[in-house]
């Protein structure tokens, strides 16, 4: 046995008990048979709506939390449209089950949706509910536009004084969500699937999306979900979570995942509080302690970076409008303002951290679907059926194209955890050892440190050394032994392509990039470095969607930052890019045999619109690693 191997084994022997102890058990369950102290990759979906959500309900979704979890575990479900006998006209099934999922129905109108669908519940005979049942699309327009897109929403009158009736009505669906999460959580040693209790807080002031998904660690949850109708700002939400969960003495723990900053028009990550004053350190601390991950990509577009010539890959899955209200009024379309993309938000975080000593936007990156069909993880481009999340409905018929061309099937969350249990996954998400993909199951590891060896890629103990000598994605660079100004950090990144299935193989990798944001003179600087692979000339034939050209099954690189400034706050994250492949719309147009020379048929005009992207480069984004200069 070589000395290197002996050293590696010794390292693992030291790390293993540490890691085992690192997962704090907050629930009763069997230990997982597959436990790896060096952590394993798990894929899941943290953004899932079912018929309990008012918008999904109006759009014809009948599947409920149980169905969502059945689907995530690999079972088939039916979906809209339904025939007159109530039979679904379409069936959905994942090619590969997920490892975990969170049903995150909208907290707003949870009770109202239940009341409108359940005879005998107060409010069932109200005008709002009658309109909802008879003209669901009209109800969708009226309710979204009068309740959720306004700054000061009020409960409906039928909800009674202070909305108590509807809050009480929300108890039944809230219980249903919890029951479903419990039923499908595998507490056996097999640890096949993890389901979390969660919901979505869905503020939309002036149609600026400030939505957040909440994931609870275990079965200890607040008695009611917090809603934008009662708690109209992020600050109010965090305070309620603190009082009703974290400090409630019930064993409750929660993390918050803001999403769709691309539709927030800068409202989701402002550097002022709701009263307009600059964020204080205590506010920033509370925010950073709860909001640990950002959903960087989903059905409603990509939020990594603003489209620009400086980084052509930022043109990926960009929405042509800034808010959902604009989406219905094409003549109003504009680019979002403010910090509406992850890079801008993370950069603002560096700036705020420098100003007040606490970075309020210290966010890891994940992705999800935001399905409104109770179909978590349904991300395949070649069989996209729409997710019914963007004012596009297949309630009564299968439309010519499954969705508006600007939407997409959404992405997945990847998590490095010791085992597939609630505690392990939750802790992984909290420490931001997580990544997002635009759909494919690309596995990526990312370490940074001043002592990482340059030959780490060839090492069989890549992860062990990464943990021992550096920080994983989501972590902070520890100050080096030598003066920080004299050395520069090294990063090690390894990515494995999605193998896919026998019938639907994945796409090879093209390159790995490291994106660096640093603060200098009050300005945030963005740099993108190719560190592995590169343009290979690979392409995809749109007519057949068959990929052409070479690519990599895996890529690995170590890279030392050439311009590290120990006095400047900075962060680095990795972006893994696949070879080009067909976007969902190209698959759909090919399947429908659209001949653009003969003119596009009704409803399929986007197939022949040159401005509509037909190919994409799927990708993964790791959570960043941060550097904070030592204090004076």
């Amino acid at each position: 046995m070589s000395a290197a191997r002996l050293a590696a084994l010794a390292l693992v022997a030291v790390l293993a008990p540490l890691a085992a102890r690192a997962v704090e058990r907050t629930e009763t369950r069997a230990p997982c048979a597959a436990f790896d102290p060096l952590r394993q990759p798990f894929f899941g979906d943290t953004h899932v709506h079912t018929a309990l959500s008012f918008d999904a309900n109006g759009q014809g979704t009948r599947t409920r939390p149980r169905d969502a979890y059945r689907f995530a575990r690999g079972e088939a479900i039916g979906t809209q449209p339904y025939d007159e006998e109530g039979e679904p006209l379409r069936t959905l099934r994942l090619r590969r089950p997920l490892d975990f999922a969170v049903v995150t129905d909208h907290a707003e109108l949870l009770g109202e949706t239940h009341a409108c669908a359940t005879p005998g519940v107060p409010g069932y005979d109200s005008v709002v509910c009658r309109v909802h049942r008879r003209w669901p699309w009209l109800s969708y327009v009226l309710v979204n536009g009068s309740m959720l897109d306004v700054r000061e929403p009020q409960r409906y009158r039928f909800c009674g004084d202070d909305g108590a009736r509807c809050r009480e009505a929300a108890a039944a669906p809230w219980q249903e969500i919890q029951r479903a999460a419990e039923e499908f959580y595998d507490r056996s040693a097999a640890c096949r699937f993890t389901s979390f209790v969660g919901y979505e807080w869905s503020g939309n002031p002036d149609s600026k999306m400030i939505h957040r998904n909440l994931v609870f660690r275990n079965t200890a949850v607040p008695p009611h979900p917090a809603s934008y109708i009662e708690d109209r700002t992020g600050e109010r939400l965090w305070q309620r979570l603190r009082s009703e969960c974290l400090d409630a003495g019930i064993g409750c723990d929660v993390l918050v995942i803001p999403h769709n900053p691309n539709l927030s028009d800068g409202e989701l990550f402002r550097t002022t509080g709701s009263e307009g004053a600059p964020l204080s350190p205590s506010e920033a601390e509370l925010r950073a302690s709860l909001e640990v991950l950002l959903e960087v990509s989903q059905h409603k577009g990509d939020s990594e970076c603003r489209a620009s010539e400086a980084d052509p890959l930022c043109g990926f899955e960009k929405l042509p409008f800034a808010t959902m209200r604009q989406s219905a009024l094409p003549w109003t379309w504009s680019a979002p303002t403010g910090a509406s993309f992850a890079r801008e938000i993370l950069g603002e975080g560096l700036r705020e951290g420098s100003r007040i000593g606490v970075n309020p936007f210290k966010l890891g990156l994940i992705a999800a679907t935001d399905t409104h069909l109770a179909a978590p993880g349904l991300v395949d481009e070649d069989s996209f059926v729409g997710h019914a999340a963007g004012r596009f409905t297949s309630r009564t018929e299968v439309p010519p194209l499954p969705d508006n061309w600007w939407f997409n099937p959404g992405g997945l969350a990847g998590v490095w955890a010791e085992e597939n249990s609630r505690d392990a996954l939750f802790e992984a998400m909290r420490r931001k050892e997580a990544w997002g993909t635009s759909g494919p199951r690309i596995v990526v590891r990312f370490f940074g440190g001043f002592d990482l060896p340059a030959d780490l890629c060839g090492a069989h103990d890549f992860a062990a050394q990464g943990y021992a000598k550096g920080a994983p994605m989501g972590g902070d660079l520890a100050a080096p032994a030598a003066p920080a100004g004299a050395v520069a950090p090294r990063f090690a990144v390894w990515a494995l392509r999605d193998a896919g299935t026998d019938d639907f193989p994945g796409t090879p990798l093209e390159r790995i990039q490291i994106v660096k944001l640093s603060l200098a003179g009050g300005a945030v600087r963005e740099e993108v470095f190719d560190v592995a692979g590169g343009a290979s000339g690979a392409r995809v034939d749109p007519a057949t969607c068959r990929p052409e050209g070479a690519g990599a099954d895996q890529l690995c690189a170590t890279w030392r930052d050439p311009a590290f400034d120990a006095g400047a706050p900075a962060l680095w994250y990795a972006r893994v890019v696949e070879n080009p492949s067909c976007r969902w719309i190209q698959f759909a147009c090919n399947e429908r045999r659209v001949d653009c020379g003969a003119g596009a048929p009704d409803g399929l005009e986007a197939c022949c619109d040159a401005a509509v992207p037909k190919t994409i480069q799927e990708r993964a984004w790791t959570s960043p690693i941060w550097w904070t200069p030592p204090g004076p």
Binding site: V127, V128, V131, L138, V141, L142, G145, Y156, T396
Partner: protein
């Protein structure tokens, strides 16, 4: 049949059954009376709850479209009644027959129906 009676009859039948494009908050083809019905539903929603947000606009959009079509059809019905002369009765009978046919054939396309994108006249109002 008098010109006035023919005009009123043709107008009523057209307002109740002629599929016209939904100009805003569509797409679809429905009778003007359904646009009025949807506007009325939005109005009831507003009266029962509030006209905040888009509710007031939605009422105006639907009732406005309904009114626009009703006025245009009133003018067209008057023109037709004058020009048809002795054929007025036959024209009204034909229009009535078409309305009966529309009750059997799914000639309307509406995003507002709860279960059917293509609906017959009866289903549009049901």
């Amino acid at each position: 049949m008098s010109a006035g009676a023919a005009r009123r009859s043709l107008w009523l039948l057209a307002v109740a059954a002629l599929p016209v494009p939904i100009l805003l908050l569509g797409p679809g083809h429905v009778p003007p009376a359904q646009l009025a019905q949807l506007g009325g539903a939005a109005l009831a929603f507003g009266v029962a709850e509030s006209f905040r947000g888009v509710v007031g606009w939605t009422v105006l959009i639907f009732l406005g479209q309904a009114l626009l079509y009703a006025l245009a059809l009133w003018a067209l019905a008057g023109l037709a009644a004058r020009r048809l002369g002795a054929l007025r009765g036959a024209a009204v009978a034909l229009a009535a027959a078409l309305v009966v046919a529309a009750c059997l054939v799914p000639a309307y396309r509406t995003p507002y129906h709860a279960t059917k994108p293509h609906a017959t006249l009866l289903e549009v109002y049901r």
